[in-house]
């Protein structure tokens, strides 16, 4: 049997297993909206840890990360740096949010913000911005899944078909089981990813160069500019410190503001579980090291993949590993894509219905659930269309989405920690920040110091939020007191 056939069979088996776990998980959950969105607040430590890890580490880390290490060298280190920084504040914010969630019955981030700052328009604006940020993120995951499948089947299954099959499965279990399915499939996929990243990341440098240090010594001798921080741009020019630093900053600020991650605070069983997840989170971050090693191992390798995002499957296929092992590795990369994609689809639908539509039309529970399921399909379809564009780089897709998502940080912080903040202030800040980020995203030539548009947005956002809050009437003490102890 040819290698690609064996690999395809393994991947098919893997996908079938994921689907089974996803569908079985749904049978344990109550049939309410709270059950669909927040899994009845019942996740224990093991599930929480892998849900968080697996939904953060996506096709972005698994394919885009090695792609950057391969083509842009030290620039990829920014991805390593931001995770621990972004997660640490959640040690305090998380339990606080969880407590307010239990007290007021919040299941989404927008409900928390608009609970403190009551406004239907604000809620709809948050829902809309979330959706705008989610689409490129889902697109990235689908494209990643398609890339893996196309590469390992030797082109027999093209990107359009591969991404359709993988995401057909994701959509099937998200539709049927919601948060519970996302939890259990991510646990399974998270374990799978960690094992695969470490074994391949250590194997490749040793097999090809005789060791990790040996590999970097050779890269230093032949391509020293690649390892010289902060690395290179896509065009191969030296990258700027302004861009490198603000990429870290915007990703750290934005990380926990992703609605699908923020919602973890509402799904955790208790505060200790939540805190321990935060503490253990950086251990997941260290798993980027072997992932980067895979990318670096391709630098001096003869031959190159069609685009740098293909480097991981390319390197796997170039080794003389048995087809069984190759199949398992590729399933690992696939699970990275799917485990984030499912959480994203689930969250985007929940947010859009709960915070967008529900604000204007009163829907009963069953209609809400139906509508969420319809939106999962719709978001999937839109992202699928974008995923077919061969020009898109996985890392840049995500980096632009972060520019929007980081704008949720000031409203959340204001809701939790600033008594004087007002609804108008938050609304004005959000609009000003998002508009600024959008302007610089469209006109990168005006960016001062090559800074990330999301940070420029925040530099406008925060002063506007504060100024307008001070100019408008403060909220009543009775209302504010319910958010402070």
């Amino acid at each position: 049997m040819e290698q690609w056939v064996v690999v395809t069979i393994i991947i098919a088996a893997y996908l079938a297993l994921t689907l089974t776990i996803g569908l079985l998980a749904g049978r344990r959950q109550t049939d309410s909206v709270a059950g669909y969105v927040a899994a009845d607040r019942s996740f224990g430590l093991l599930v929480m840890y892998f849900v968080t890890g697996a939904s953060v580490f996506s096709a972005f880390a698994f394919l885009g990360g090695p792609g950057w290490a391969y083509s842009r060298g030290a620039a990829a280190f920014y991805i390593l740096a931001y995770g621990a920084l972004g997660m640490a504040p959640f040690y305090w914010i998380g339990p606080r949010v969880a407590k307010l969630g239990r007290k007021h019955g919040f299941v989404t981030q927008a409900q928390l913000i608009t609970g403190r700052f009551p406004s239907r328009n604000l809620s709809a604006l948050i829902a809309l911005l979330s959706l705008i940020a989610f689409v490129p993120y889902v697109t990235l995951q689908m494209r990643g899944a398609g890339i893996v499948i196309e590469a390992v089947t030797d082109g027999h299954v093209p990107i359009w078909l591969g991404s359709a099959v993988a995401y057909g499965i994701v959509i099937a279990y998200v539709l049927s089981a919601g948060a519970m399915a996302v939890g259990w499939t991510n646990t399974f996929q998270g374990i799978f990813m960690v094992v695969i990243a470490w074994s391949l990341g250590l194997y490749l440098p040793i097999a090809l160069y005789g060791g990790i240090g040996e590999m970097f010594t050779q890269i230093l001798a032949e391509r020293p500019e690649l390892l010289d921080p902060p690395g290179l741009t896509a065009a191969g020019e030296p990258w700027s410190w302004g861009a490198y630093s603000t990429f870290i900053l915007v990703s750290a600020v934005g990380l926990m503001m992703w609605p699908h991650l923020f919602m973890k605070a509402f799904t955790a069983k208790d505060d200790d579980t939540l805190r321990r997840t935060v503490i253990l989170f950086p251990t997941f971050q260290l798993f980027l090291i072997p992932v980067f090693l895979i990318g670096f191992s391709g630098v001096l390798f003869p031959g190159s993949p069609p685009s740098s995002d293909f480097i991981l499957p390319f390197m796997i296929l170039e080794t003389d590993l048995p087809a069984l092992v190759v199949g398992l590795f590729c399933a690992g990369a696939l699970s990275a894509s799917m485990s984030t994609g499912d959480a994203l689809l689930h969250a985007s639908a929940s947010v859009f219905v709960e915070d967008g539509i529900q604000q204007f039309v009163d829907l009963d529970e069953q209609t809400q659930r139906r509508m969420m399921q319809g939106l999962v399909l719709l978001t999937g379809a839109i992202a699928y269309v974008f995923a077919q564009d061969p020009e898109s780089s996985l890392v840049l897709l995500l980096a632009s989405a972060y520019g929007i998502i980081a704008q949720f940080a000031p409203p959340v912080v204001a809701a939790l920690y600033w008594r004087r903040a007002t609804t108008r202030g938050v609304m004005a800040g959000l609009i000003a920040g998002a508009a600024t980020a959008f302007f610089f995203w469209q006109n990168p030539e005006y960016k001062p110091f090559d800074m990330h548009e999301g940070i420029l947005g925040l530099l406008v956002h925060v002063p506007v939020l504060m100024a307008v809050s001070w100019m408008t009437e403060s909220q009543s003490d009775d209302h504010v007191d319910t958010f402070f102890d």
């Binding site: 920084l85 640490a88 240090g213 390892l227 630093s245 251990t283 102890d485």
Partner: protein, 75 residues
Amino acid sequence: MNLRTARALAGVYHLAMLYFVTWPGILPFARAEPLLFGLPFTMAWIAAWITGSVLVLASLDRVEKRFRNSDGGDA
């Protein structure tokens, strides 16, 4: 250690981390050589800060738990 000090230290650690992994704090450590554990210097430098973050947060959790258990208050 009391709770306030522990929280302040954890906060300071992460602010220091932010400073030392971005411009300008990273500049003295932004180089490929010497290799540490086989990794380029900057990569090992960032990895060390991440490892430190796990340790700092874990110690903070131990202190927090002691306070939560002792007075039952919302620490």
